[in-house]
Symmetry: C2
């Protein structure tokens, strides 16, 4: 997808540390939690309570902030929950889905080098 | 490389949040700076002053802490500097080199989705 396709993409952030694409990616993703919420979205989880129930036990205030950040950076969008209530759910955008190779690389590295790791059962369908 | 090959690999960390390999990888790598130091090591930089001179301007106290962490997690080792002084330099281990697919995936995502990014000149030889 070309960059021009979306007119809503945020402009270059003043917090951007350099033009290095790795650095710019880490400006958005570089913390212990953001990519775990992206992982959960790839697992098909969509609701606040679903993310909150993940085994890492993300604190709710951190989860709120990360979901807001995902939306702000257009990695995810808010959608109506499937249960017909007025609650909101979250869904990855194309930009968010494009993080799959990053998560796969982190998964592969973790499986090879970090003792005691194993792919989560719910990750099998998502390939994580 | 099998896990058994190195007897010095640290045991499962008490700070490990789950057995998910993505989470365990982020326990080590999940911040804005660690992977940039790994990037610099892949660029062939080896000395404190080299990392410090990178365009992102890593604060020296953060750099000291991250280098220590890389050594502690066996992503890098300290070696004598090539200039014959008693100064130290750093070099990636096999475990650190194995992060190349992670950095490549972050680079590719950044180039496609983050405005204003471009591969660093010094990264051409390293493929980043």
């Amino acid at each position: 997808m070309s960059r021009e396709k979306s007119s809503k993409r945020p402009k270059e952030s003043p917090a951007q540390r350099s033009v290095c694409p790795v650095a710019c990616s880490l400006d958005v993703l570089g913390d212990r939690w953001t990519l775990l919420v992206v992982r959960d979205l790839m697992f098909g989880r969509s609701r606040f309570k679903d993310f909150s129930a993940s085994p890492e036990g993300i604190p709710t205030n951190v989860l709120s902030e990360r979901l807001e950040r995902l939306v702000q950076h257009e990695l995810a969008v808010r959608i109506p929950a499937a249960d017909g209530t007025k609650r909101l759910a979250y869904q990855l955008t194309e930009k968010g889905e494009a993080l799959r190779p990053v998560l796969e690389a982190l998964r592969d590295w973790g499986l090879q080098w970090e003792p005691g790791t194993q792919a989560l059962i719910s990750g099998e369908s998502a390939g994580l």
